[in-house]
Structures are given as structure tokens and as C-alpha cells.
């Protein structure tokens, strides 16, 4: 069944936002619990959806449970609004709810994302929903779910620290790129989902609410607004983000955003571009407006 077929069927029995109200209520309750215990993984009954597990079903269930008729949705995948997955998810929500969608970070009330946090700082009125493949940082060192839950309960994190210590001993630095473990509110170690290190500091004392959904692993967790989130680091080996010094965005010239490397195999040329396409577009728009103003001159418009 094609997604567009859902529209007529919506009247024929599909609920607003696809999920039935009981399911949405359960998810919302789990979200409330997650917000109340920042960084703690709350189990929830992940439902079947018309997309496969592992394609953002955790984030999608959160989004579907949260949106109301007045919400404005933005969906990004790896910083981009146009990639296939982002488009499909956005269309699914739009078609089953009829709510407005946007590419502009500032206009959105709910943003569902994978692998990136937008460059533009979010506000108290916005919620960022992250799709999570592996909700537990401790999985790196302990395969048993039962044991990791106990470790979280007892705040028994010494083995995680040893892992980082061994990393430094073997490689001279901590080699974890994405999924860098963070300590939330001085209590739980949390997997921030596979965002680059660049985005990790954005979690700390942020104005907005962060919700994390792992559909396959059936876990929801959250970082509330103004919550302390610190990456695990040693006093003599401070946490470092990716280094883009000397590199700028090919399109907008940004020097302070997370850049993707783009390699042109025909010309052999290597360029860098903003990973957050909305951020890049916004800058380009301002730049062209400024240019126009310069050419046309002020007051003649």
C-alpha cells in the first residue's frame, strides 16, 4: 500500500497521527517518566509501524504521540531535510495528521532528527526528537542487558571509565566518535545517539527538551531543558570536538558549523559543506539579501 492511499483511509478508521490514542498515551506517559529521570532508559511497548524497525521507529512514535494540529514539524536525517528517510517520515506524519511541515529550524515546534542536532540553538518552545539505534553506552563493555541495568542502578560505571582509559593507553586518545557517552545530571551515563562529538556540548543546559526514542530496543529517554550533560572525560585528557580549523563551507563560507567532506571523483576535488543544510540555506539567504541590498541600495526596494 502506498502511503498516499492512507489519506482516504484516514477517514475510514485511521486515527490522527496513525497511532491509536491508547498507544499515544502510553508513549507520553513513558516520556513523562523519562523527563522526570533524566538519562534513565524507560522501557516502552514499541508498536508496529508502516516502516521497518531500525528506520527511526522510536523517534517516529515519540513524534506521532506528541504532535497536535497546531504543531509545525521538521524532519532531518544527517542534518539534511531532503534525504529519502527524512522525506518519508515527514510525509507519513503530514499525511496522517495534516499538520504543517517546515525546513526552517526556527519555525518548527517538533524536530525529528537522526545523527545531528541543528546548528541553530533551539528554544524552550521546541522539542528535539532523536532516533536511537543503541540506547545504552554500557553495551560497549557489557553484552547483558540485565547486567547493564544493574550497573546503571548502582551507578557502577568504573568499567566504562576503564574502557576510556584503555582507549587512551592504546591509541593516545579516546577513539569514540559518534555516540560519545555523557553523564546526565550527575547520575546516569547516557548514549546521546550517534551524533558527532561536535553536537554533544549542545545537550548541556539547553533551553529545549531532548527526547530519545529507540524503536527496536524499546527504550525512551530524555534530557529536560536546563539539565547538566557532560561528556565523560579525564581531568588531564579533556573532551574535544571535531577539528575543522582552516576549513570553511564551500557554499556559505561558514567557519563554525559541522562540515561534511564531499569528494568529487571526477575532478579529484575535495570540498567541505555544512552538514546542517537548513543552516546553510539560511546563511545563503541572508547573504543574498545583503548582496541585493548592496546592489539595489537601501530604501529603493
Amino acid at each position: 500500500m502506498a502511503i498516499k492511499d492512507l489519506i482516504p483511509q484516514k477517514q475510514a478508521g485511521y486515527n490522527f497521527a496513525f497511532l491509536d490514542e491508547h498507544t499515544k498515551r502510553e508513549v507520553r506517559r513513558k516520556i513523562l517518566k523519562a523527563v522526570a529521570i533524566p538519562g534513565y532508559q524507560v522501557p516502552f511497548a514499541s508498536r508496529e509501524l508502516p516502516i521497518a524497525r531500525g528506520w527511526g521507529t522510536g523517534g517516529l512514535q515519540i513524534t506521532l504521540s506528541l504532535v497536535g494540529p497546531d504543531d509545525v514539524l521538521k524532519v532531518i536525517d544527517q542534518g539534511c531535510d531532503d534525504s529519502v528517510n527524512a522525506v518519508s517520515l515527514r510525509q507519513l506524519v503530514a499525511m496522517t495528521t495534516g499538520i504543517k511541515t517546515t525546513f526552517e529550524t526556527g519555525r518548527a515546534t517538533v524536530i525529528q532528527t537522526r545523527h545531528r542536532i541543528p546548528e541553530e540553538p533551539l528554544t524552550e518552545k521546541q522539542i528535539l526528537v532523536l532516533q536511537v539505534p543503541y540506547p545504552d553506552s554500557l553495551r560497549l563493555i557489557e553484552p547483558s542487558e540485565q547486567k547493564t541495568r544493574q550497573m546503571h542502578a548502582e551507578q557502577d560505571y568504573s568499567r566504562m571509565w576503564v574502557y576510556l582509559y584503555e582507549d587512551i593507553v592504546n591509541w593516545g586518545e579516546i577513539t569514540i566518535g559518534a555516540r560519545y557517552p555523557v553523564l546526565v545530571h550527575g547520575r546516569y551515563i547516557m548514549d546521546p545517539s550517534p551524533i558527532p562529538r561536535w553536537d554533544v556540548p549542545k545537550l548541556n543546559m539547553a533551553q529545549n527538551l531532548y527526547l530519545f526514542g529507540a524503536g527496536r530496543e524499546k527504550r525512551i529517554y530524555a534530557v529536560g531543558p536546563y539539565t547538566q550533560v557532560v561528556p565523560l572525560e579525564f581531568s588531564d585528557r579533556p573532551f574535544q570536538v571535531e577539528d575543522f580549523s582552516g576549513k570553511t563551507c564551500f557554499y556559505c563560507g561558514s567557519k563554525d558549523s559541522f562540515l561534511d567532506e564531499i569528494f568529487n571523483s571526477k575532478t579529484g576535488q575535495k570540498i567541505y559543506a555544512c552538514s546542517d543544510t537548513a543552516f546553510c540555506a539560511q546563511r545563503l539567504k541572508i547573504q543574498s539579501a545583503v548582496r541585493e541590498e548592496k546592489i539595489v541600495g537601501p530604501g529603493k526596494k
Binding site: Q150, A153, E154, Q155, D156, S158, R159, W161, V162, Y165, E166, I168, V169, N170, E233, F234, S235, D236, R237
Partner: protein
């Protein structure tokens, strides 16, 4: 080695550990008198039957008895590897010695293990994580106790390895590469890392050959001189007990049948079982 007055460090009162369904007859129908640990009523195994002991700061107390007498279960209950069925244990340096540590929640028990207790097992596989380097194993205790500097961790680990006579240049190797005696010394270094006031030693020389055994025992004696750590030494080997301890408890069928000065236990044993044990000494 001689304890000072009134400096009780650990007091255990009537510690009980029963494996199985447990009935009201378990404790009465088992023990040294009954010469059995299996309750004839319900079939439960009574590993520790109302064990009481006192350990002063800086003292080494021996616990001797044949295998299966409940010695190891006793230390495992004290290190919370096993949950004691009943009884009380008080540690002077924790909650002013007024909190029964056996009843604490898992998180507090974790704190006790990370800050106040150290353990060395007979089998290094139990005490060491073989996926971590030997330095990493020592680091685990330091990190658990809140050290957050890599350099500091490495310096402390190196110092401990020197103390336990493990070549420092092998610090970043996996313990699997080491001989049994060396693994045991790494385990001791790990147990000492956070400077615990109480160290539990469970048959630490069993299974090592004689020369390595002597080295490990010598190490323990030196550490005791230098650091004044109180130790509970579990062994079935009276030689080990004689060498290390001032006082000794003798266990049989999950009960303490005799306690006293180590030389008195060895030269003038009172209980029939202790006499048998001493007479079996090579």
C-alpha cells in the same frame, strides 16, 4: 601486627547463609555437632551457620577449615558477592560502625566495595577482568574510587606494581599473558589500589607452586608491615595461617568450632576437629 585496644574494625554477628528453601530446623539440625550442612528436613545447604567474629584495625585474622566448611562463603557474603541470609556485620569506618552492612542497598554495597573493602580470590579469573590490561584492572578500582586523571591512575598503578613485584613495563599487557603467580600479584595490586582498611584474602596461595607461594605470602607480610591493613585470611593451609595471622578461627560444617591465638590453636588445639586438622599437618 599486635592490635591496639578498642579499635574494632569489623564485627560480624551470627552471619547465616543458606542455599535452598530454608526451614525453621535448618540451623538446629546442621553444624559441627550434627556433622552435616545439609538440612535433613528441607534439603537446604547451610554454608554459614551463625558465624560471629571480631577483627581489629591492622590485625590479620585467619579462618581455617576443610573445603566446604563455609570459609569462602563467609568472605563472599562480606564482599556481597553472595547475599547473606541473615546476621549482621558492622564496619567501624562506615556509618560510625552502627549500620549493618549486610542490609544496605546495592548502591551502598557498591560504595563499600569501591572504597572500604578489597578482595583477592583464589582464582585470578574472578578478581581480574581478562579483557582489560593489568594496568586497566588496577585503574578500575582507582576510577571507581573517583580518580579522574589518566596520569595519576598510571602513576598509582605503576607504584602498586612495583610494590607487588610485577614488572612495570608489562603494565599494558593483558593478564592472560601472565603466569599464575604474577596474575595473583596483579590481583593483590588491584585489591590494594584504593587503600582499603580491610582486605579479604580467599585461599590466595592455593594452586600456586611452593616458591611462588612463598613470594606471595612474603608480599602480604610486607604490605601488612608497611600499610597496616587489616586482613581476613581464608585458607585450608595451616602453614599459611601460621605465617600470616595472630588469631585464628577454625570452621567446620559452617560453624566456628574454636577460636584463639594462632600459636595456641596450632600447639594446643582444644576441639577434636582442630586436633585432627593439626595432626594432619605435614
Amino acid at each position: 601486627m599486635v592490635p591496639e585496644k578498642n579499635n574494632l574494625l569489623l564485627e560480624v554477628k551470627e552471619l547465616v547463609k543458606v542455599y535452598g528453601s530454608q526451614c525453621s530446623y535448618c540451623l538446629k539440625l546442621t553444624g559441627a555437632q550434627a556433622e552435616r550442612q545439609l538440612c535433613p528436613e528441607c534439603g537446604s545447604v547451610v554454608a554459614c551457620n551463625r558465624i560471629s567474629l571480631k577483627l581489629h584495625a591492622g590485625e590479620i585474622l585467619g579462618v581455617v577449615g576443610e573445603s566446604g566448611s563455609g570459609k569462602s562463603t563467609l568472605v563472599r557474603c562480606l564482599y556481597f558477592d553472595e547475599e547473606a541470609t541473615g546476621g549482621e556485620a558492622y564496619l567501624a569506618c562506615y556509618g560510625e560502625g552502627k549500620i549493618n552492612i549486610l542490609q544496605e542497598n546495592a548502591q551502598r554495597k557498591r560504595y563499600l566495595c569501591n572504597y572500604l573493602l578489597g578482595i583477592v580470590y583464589q582464582n585470578p579469573q574472578l578478581g581480574l577482568n581478562f579483557n582489560f590490561s593489568c594496568g586497566g584492572n588496577i585503574a578500575e578500582k582507582l576510577l571507581a574510587a573517583g580518580v579522574r586523571s589518566v596520569d595519576q591512575v598510571r602513576q598509582s598503578a605503576a607504584r602498586l606494581l612495583v610494590k607487588t613485584e610485577v614488572p612495570v613495563e608489562r603494565m599494558d599487557e593483558l593478564p592472560g599473558n601472565f603466569s599464575g603467580g604474577m596474575q595473583q600479584r596483579v590481583q593483590i595490586a588491584k585489591a590494594l589500589a584504593h587503600n582499603p582498611p580491610l582486605l579479604l584474602l580467599d585461599e590466595i596461595t592455593t594452586g600456586l607452586d611452593v616458591s611462588v607461594q612463598a613470594r606471595v605470602l612474603d608480599l602480604i607480610r610486607q604490605l601488612q608491615h608497611q600499610m597496616g591493613i587489616a586482613m581476613l585470611v581464608i585458607s585450608h593451609d595451616l602453614g599459611v595461617i601460621r605465617l600470616l595471622t595472630d588469631r585464628t578461627l577454625v570452621m567446620k560444617n559452617g560453624q566456628v568450632v574454636e577460636s584463639g591465638l594462632t600459636d595456641q590453636i596450632l600447639e594446643d588445639p582444644q576441639h577434636p576437629y582442630t586436633q585432627l586438622l593439626v595432626n594432619s599437618l605435614l
